[in-house]
């Protein structure tokens, strides 16, 4: 098959095809950037949500957990933890989070351990707000089940 393709043909496919793909990619990038604020409800991104994201990064939570399916696979997915542990109720979830974060690390022998991060109650609330906001992102009906 390759005998019929010459070097210059291959070269043209590379430059032509590559440029074409790149142009489509750039065009779609602009459209996606335009759509993400609506799909993620950016208007609900309060200061507390942003502070929560910063805490998420500062403590490298993604080094063990996944969020929106991305991260490490050592600990549970957190995009829908609001539904799973808070039954989609903000007060319930925030109370749960305060208790949970304070109880770490759990003493169960050989269970995977979450470190104690020494967050203040206000910081834990920021984290909860961030997770609540994330749970409402339109991710094309992912995760498929509540277990994430």
């Amino acid at each position: 098959m390759t005998e019929r393709i010459t070097k210059s043909m291959a070269k043209n496919i590379y430059y032509g095809g590559g440029t074409f793909a790149l142009l489509i990619f750039i065009a779609l990038t602009f459209d996606t950037v335009h759509q993400i604020p609506k799909r993620s409800n950016q208007q609900n991104m309060t200061e507390s949500v942003v502070a929560g994201k910063k805490l998420w990064e500062k403590n490298d939570c993604v080094g063990c957990h996944t969020i929106v399916g991305e991260g490490a696979y050592y600990a549970p997915e957190l995009m829908n933890v609001f539904q799973r542990r808070g039954a989609s109720d903000e007060t319930t979830f925030k109370a749960y989070m305060q208790g949970w974060m304070a109880a770490q690390p759990l003493s169960t022998p050989n269970r995977r351990k979450m470190p104690q991060f020494h967050l203040t109650p206000a910081e834990v609330d920021n984290l909860s707000d961030f997770l609540i906001w994330t749970s409402k992102v339109n991710a094309n009906d992912w995760p498929p089940t509540i277990e994430g």
């Binding site: 590379y14 399916g69 269970r111 498929p144």
Partner: protein
């Protein structure tokens, strides 16, 4: 060695191999912590082990690419390197920055590290694979710029070949797409969208150009096949890479908040992504069949063929398993992703470094005909240990992923993440055992460097 400046490649290769040993060692520690959660806790929590594991991989590949470039560019351009001195200065800066970063991860709590390294000025930390403190990220940019300058200047003053052009394009892409590591919007979804510009467009586009160029170089050297012929194959491979890989980024945008059209675009484009790797197999084996010379360094060709096969399996086959949107709905964020990640990074990128080192190191050590037969035999044993180990580890992770999906995502009787993981514990033991095989394989590979050459008759 035709040009004295090629010698700068040697420390790069050696350091890349040392980092690889560290990377695998930390992988083993993680594998054990997966089974016994109390292992090393709270001394080194999982996220720290993982950071060290993945960052060592990225840095070792950069060292390997740089070493490979410094070796091949003088031969391709038929001129000495523009500045061997700059290459050595860059080497030491990168070594110091790399070692300090790893020590920082290990000995400073991450939150404290963010404060110590001015993360509040420009927050970039705490994102997968891009955990590096700001000074390290800036350091990487400087190192890559100096490297690009050195290579570009050498290419400009010398002979221009398809290999150097492709290599330079790849390196330029590597530099440009890393800049997205500095862009961290407050909106998590926007953040993730652009995060992939670095992560995906490195490994599934620009790095493939670098891979193709190195593979083509080694094949020319060990098979003696006509350059025109090799060039055509190289163009064909990277053409397929660009056509599929760029829009293939879409397979990461299915379920993370990006619009629906990515479901189609990502699925279709990435279904083509195995093609360049399939071509690489045809390339390596056709060139080996049509070879004009029989190089005494047989291991170099073995690694080259191995790279093509394992790259195809890891990146092509394991990627394809979960790249169609309806399948990815269930596999997204499971151990299947980890399985694919392990075999593709190993098969495509770690192995091309082995290929280059296997070809260049003997020459750099004054053995133009390759290592002696006994050393090559030891190297061959390590080749199989590494490959079988990685394949076994990947199969174990795939099995873990499938169980995880059945437990958490399919049917009506679902169980939670932690419970499901406990049920997978046996599989994780198998994974760790294959990890030990990989590590032993690497030690065997190291040993092959110390096999004594027979005295010249």
């Amino acid at each position: 060695m035709k040009y004295t400046s090629q010698a700068v490649a040697k420390p790069y290769f050696i350091f890349a191999l040392i980092l690889l040993a560290g990377e695998i060692l930390f992988g083993l520690l993680m594998g054990i912590q997966y089974i016994w959660g109390d292992f090393l806790f709270p001394l080194i929590p999982f996220n720290v082990l993982r950071m060290v594991h993945t960052n060592l991989l990225i840095v070792l590949l950069l060292f390997g690419f740089m070493g490979a470039t410094y070796y091949l560019v003088p031969e391709e351009t038929e001129s000495e390197l523009w500045s061997p001195k700059l290459a050595m200065i860059t080497f030491w800066i990168f070594v110091v920055a790399g070692v300090l970063t790893i020590l920082g991860y290990l000995f400073v709590p991450y939150a404290t590290l963010t404060e110590l390294t001015f993360n509040n000025l420009l927050p970039t930390m705490g994102r997968e694979f891009l955990e590096q403190p700001l000074p390290t990220k800036v350091g990487i940019v400087l190192v890559v710029l100096s490297y690009l300058l050195n290579v570009s200047m050498t290419v400009l003053k010398g002979r221009k070949t398809v290999i150097t052009t492709v290599l330079l394009t790849g390196l330029l892409g590597l530099a440009v797409f890393f800049l997205f590591a500095f862009y961290v919007p407050d909106n998590l979804i926007m953040d993730k969208f652009f995060w992939w510009f670095t992560v995906h467009l490195w490994v599934e586009a620009t790095w493939e150009l670098i891979l193709g160029a190195i593979l083509a170089f080694v094949l020319i050297k060990v098979t003696g096949v006509d350059r025109e012929h090799i060039d055509k194959w190289l163009y064909l491979i990277i053409a397929m890479t660009m056509v599929s890989g760029i829009l293939g980024t879409g397979h990461h945008f299915f379920y993370m908040g990006a619009p629906e059209y990515w479901l189609w675009i990502g699925s279709i484009s990435s279904a083509v992504e195995p093609l360049p790797f399939l071509l690489m197999i045809l390339f390596a084996f056709t060139m080996a069949r049509d070879r004009k010379i029989k190089h005494d360094n047989e291991m170099a060709l073995t690694w080259a063929k191995g790279t093509a096969v394992m790259g195809f399996l890891g990146a092509g086959v394991w990627g394809f398993f979960h790249t169609l949107a309806p399948v990815n709905m269930y596999t997204h964020g499971t151990q299947l992703t980890a399985a694919h990640g392990h075999l593709s990074f190993y098969g495509a990128y770690v192995m091309i470094i082995f290929t280059m080192i296997s070809y260049a190191m003997p020459i750099l050590r004054g053995r133009p005909h390759g290592n002696c037969a006994k050393a090559q035999k030891v190297e061959l044993v390590s080749f199989w240990m590494l490959n079988i180990g990685m394949l076994g580890l990947t199969l174990a992770l795939s099995a873990a992923g499938i169980v995880q999906i059945m437990d958490q995502r399919v049917g009506t009787h679902l169980i939670g993440f932690m419970e499901s993981q406990e049920s997978i514990n046996g599989i994780y033991m198998v994974r760790a055992a294959f990890g030990v095989l990989v590590f032993t394989g690497l030690l065997t590979y190291f040993y092959s460097f110390f096999v004594k050459e027979p005295a010249k008759a």
